[in-house]
Symmetry: C2
Subunit: 456 residues, 2 copies
């Protein structure tokens, strides 16, 4: 193997290899990779893919490894393709409001670079300070501002990918999609690759659309609620009132306390749940919307609700939201849910989560992109406690079943990876699953690209 | 055949059948269908698809037939599936801002129905008063407000489709996508079917996301320019200034005169081109944006530019935009282009269109979703004049080549259908074309769904 990768940055140190063999989904199993390689160019990727295909070695691409479904986990005998060194921003085309980047560019780095041109790349997964654009595209990552601005998919115009199968030998480089704002020349393969979790090929370059930067800081409205279900009722009421915040996030008491104990941000940790709304309509209209949101919160039974007039406080609140996951991870292994239900069912789903926790005698902390109906109940289970682990697994499955029963999905934004394969089979019909398998077999007939993920 | 379709609304009158055998692309050839059927339910569609598959009869689905690429044109021996009677709005879920409709619902009818709930379905192809949601989804239709609000694809959450192939026998009914705002459970097949022009199956129900209705009428800014290229420069300058109108449309003198001669709207027809911008940011911020747009127009050399204070006048201008295509059709057969180039290349593409018209000695009228870089040069060629027809065809091909050379695409929103198949082959690499063919063969192994369109 090694002689074929001459001149490439090959990792074979056992500890480094192990750390590159899995993502941040602590509950997902991972296998033993043969090696990892850190390509710098598309040509490097092409060489590795061709060499692996010759030897039928599975290829597992990865970015920063912040995934939460095991989508970047190694299978036995795999070659890990660590794309984090392909971190060059190729072009910022301010005239056309697009940016082209290698997959290893960190989300926040892209945001900062385009901001210098008065532009904005909206997708903002909580992992944005660490996660890469390649990983974001592979998982069709969501985030906080999806409510108003959509998910990664809505920003992907085109990409360069190294594929095999119908396009040619494994190691063929193709460009999918386009650079223009619109385009329907052929099937939307760039869209199909977005969210395919590396199972169709390796993304080596991505062109995204941008928006003009926001001209003023968004307003933040905070509401404190006596129960998470009451907070859920307020979320449903916001939609009913025709209000469209840029973000509408929920943090329950367990999350707030975990962040406060760690970072001492001075957060109100008495409420059962906080709702954080961000309104970015400019000018007076934005002020009116902020007032309306606070009124809806109060009408829905908030203990208090107010617009944060202090920008530092507002930032601390959203920082708390972003830090909730790592703060909980400090307390022990976390099993992360990622269900999404119709917004009107948010209160019911939150009640179901509480009932599930009580039924299994476990702690479930909930953070949520509540305005999207996308909830992240985080199941805490102490290491080494087999019974707690079984209870956690049972709770995990109960919540997937409940979400499906409410017309929801088992994964809103984290992807299927390894953890949601069973849930996906429960959610989709046999016919749709067969279509999925057929598309995978067509585009990757040797099953070399991230095998066992999504399908399998 | 007929006995198998007992109880269905079968059309076999030769004249009606002929009228159902093609769309609005006058230049696209069409074959002789065996019959047309007008299903009312998914079960009707299922029966027809199964019966056709038994006899290897190709199935050509159609809505209102307003397509401009021949995507709904019959092939010889085809069964036409006219879905215009499947025109029921199944559900408007105001709480979750979604609507579910049968494919034959007219775009404007859906808009009106959801408006009664304070909601808005943004996609607005110029054909919106006639074209159907099914056709809009099949072609991933664009429109005027794509610039700020995206295309049909951005609103499709899920769909019911009648398919064959991997999902089961032809006539299998599956649901793709979801009803939630976010979701990544498996490959994005709903996205793949959007824009696939009926070549993977027949859409029988569609769930779209909605937005809250706009709270105030948008502002309209009009600029008159001494040349189309100068208008193009103004379009590029708008993007550079970080302004994001809801729509930014261009009409050249030929279009304006054709509409004026027909409808007598009192349009200014002296300018070489008009730009129409619509700004819908609410409140004072919207007023400021309208002022800024008018200033950019003036700085780019407009003869005059002003905000329309008269709502009736503003509506007349946008009505003129929508009527431009039918107004030109009154003058003779129209060969419609649908190129899309990066916005910075709009002036260059407009100059290239003028040079093409001069070179071939023909008239090309241009309407454009200029802010998107999506241009519709309309080639006028008198019927029965073979030389003019050859010149028109040559000009058509020249413009496709020019658009590709500028980093553009051969179809921004009308679809490949029959007219853009050559252009698509010129635009996409051999590898990507092979992937497209492979996906089609996988999902429709008998090549029964709208054969010869897109691929082929």
């Amino acid at each position: 193997m090694k002689e074929l990768l001459t001149g490439l940055d090959v990792v074979d140190d056992a500890d480094v290899l192990d750390s590159l063999s899995h993502d941040d989904a602590e509950w997902a199993p991972y296998g033993k990779a043969v090696a990892a390689v850190r390509p710098r160019t598309t040509e490097d990727v092409r060489r590795v893919v061709a060499a692996c295909a010759d030897r039928k070695i599975p290829i597992v691409p990865r970015g920063a490894g912040t995934g939460l479904s095991g989508g970047a986990n190694a299978v036995d005998g795999a070659m890990i393709l660590d794309l984090s060194k392909m971190n060059r921003i190729v072009e910022i085309d301010a005239e056309n409001m697009t940016a082209t980047a290698q997959p290893g560019v960190v989300n926040d780095d892209l945001k900062k670079a385009v901001a210098e041109h008065g532009l904005w790349y909206p997708p903002d997964p909580a992992s944005a300070p660490w996660s890469t654009i390649g990983g974001n595209v592979a998982t069709n990552a969501g985030g906080l501002c999806c409510l108003k601005y959509g998910v990664t998919r809505d920003y992907v115009l085109g990409m360069e990918v190294v594929v095999g199968g119908p396009a040619g030998d494994y190691g063929t480089v193709v460009r999918l999609g386009r650079r223009t704002t619109k385009g329907v020349s052929g099937y939307d393969l760039a869209g199909l690759f977005t969210g395919s979790e590396g199972t169709f090929g390796v993304i080596t370059e991505i062109t995204v659309r941008l928006r003009p930067a926001r001209r003023e800081a968004p307003r933040t409205v905070v509401g404190a609620f006596g129960s998470v279900v009451a907070a859920g009722e307020a979320v449903a009421a916001i939609t009913r009132a025709g209000l469209l915040p840029a973000a509408l996030e929920l943090l329950d008491r367990t999350c707030l306390r975990a962040v406060e104990d760690w970072k001492h941000l001075g957060l109100e940790a008495d409420a059962a749940a906080l709702l954080l709304a961000q309104l970015d309509t400019p000018g007076l209209a934005g002020d009116e919307e902020a007032t309306a949101v606070a009124e809806v919160f109060r009408a829905a039974g908030a203990m208090w609700a107010e617009q944060s007039t202090d920008e530092i406080e507002a930032e601390a609140l959203f920082a708390a939201r972003r830090l909730a996951y790592p703060a909980l991870e400090r307390l022990g292994p976390v099993l992360t849910e990622d269900i999404c239900v119709p917004r009107s069912r948010v209160p019911e789903m939150l009640a179901s989560i509480e009932a599930t926790a009580a039924r299994h005698g476990i702690t479930i902390a909930t953070i949520a992109h509540a305005g999207d109906g996308n909830l992240h109940p985080l199941i805490l289970a102490p290491s080494g406690d087999d019974e707690a682990r079984r209870a956690a697994q049972a709770a995990f499955e109960d919540m997937l079943t409940a979400a499906i029963a409410m017309g929801g999905t088992v994964t809103g934004e984290h992807g299927v990876g390894l953890l949601k394969r069973e849930g996906m089979r429960q959610e989709l019909s046999a016919g749709v699953l067969a279509m999925q398998v057929a598309v995978k077999q067509t585009l990757d007939p040797l099953d070399l690209f991230n095998p066992g993920k999504v399908i399998g």
